[in-house]
Assembly symmetry: C2
DNA sequence: CTCGGTGCAAATGCTTTGCAATGTC
DNA sequence: GACATTGCAAAGCATTTGCACCGAG
């Protein structure tokens, strides 16, 4: 994960918007996101930062995550729960999710054919896609083995 | 929409669980769901019922919607917002959604090929699918025509 | 120096819960 | 009659907001 490039993406985005300022908090949140693995929620990210001695408020974490989503550095999902989940999107291919209802595990997968069908449906309906998310809920292999 | 059949499905489900009782409220919520068109949230359903003079509490609406989801009469979605959205699932084919970020319109579509790919991915990962939801966010034809 | 951003705590809005009353089995 | 279910209002939670202070441009 190229931290430099991610910082540059954010910097460029902020500048392109004219009124957005490059604050240390924003870069601190970005760094925490880059260091994260898999999916996480705002709360978890906040505590990880606090624990490391980085001073931020929850409000800033939420605001910044939305900002990072706007410039494509972070993806935001909402599965079945009442919590939004995020993951770093930097340099990652588009992918979809198998979500285990037993253990909560999330398995990712990529499929070109799926993307293609998606595009076909969209052009058929004159719909301009921006992002997409396929969520399959069920039971993962580990959990179906259990009695 | 066959009201009788839906009632029977619920009755059978309640009996199958042993301890679940067939209360008039549960059937009232089911009726309100059957009369609904497209997607709705718990709040809207609640007010529709109250307006019609049906006595229910919000808590019961929420509980019953979850129950109806468990027995497959209702589908529950969570798109980008912070509200859960429901729709009747009785006698409807599996379908997916194009969601317009401008006007909030939801366009449904069905695709056999998509289902097939989904199944292939699942068996590849030894994952037993239960339900799924593909959400494509973007701009609908009406909104892209606007200046 | 200006105005956008931050932190805090309080507010919001959806959903769940605790408990007495109610109605099913 | 036993006990699941209801209704109400209050509690919970994730997220947002209002406002005084701070700091980037």
């Amino acid at each position: 994960m190229d931290v430099e490039a991610a910082h540059e993406t954010l910097t460029r985005y902020l500048r392109s918007k004219g009124k957005l300022r490059a604050t240390s908090e924003r870069f601190a949140v970005l760094d925490a996101v880059l260091q994260s693995q898999g999916h996480f929620d705002a709360e978890a990210l906040y505590y990880r930062m606090i624990t490391k001695g980085i001073k931020v408020s929850k409000a800033t974490v939420y605001n910044t995550l939305d900002l990072l989503q706007d410039c494509g550095l972070v993806s935001k999902y909402r599965f079945a729960e009442n919590t939004s989940r995020y993951e770093k999107a930097f340099g990652r291919p588009r992918h979809h999710h198998l979500i285990c209802l037993e253990c909560g595990d999330i398995i990712e997968f990529v499929s070109d054919r799926l993307e293609k069908i998606q595009d076909e449906v969209c052009s058929e309906k004159n719909f301009s896609p921006q992002s997409s998310s396929l969520q399959v809920f069920g039971t993962c292999s580990k959990c179906s083995k259990k009695p």
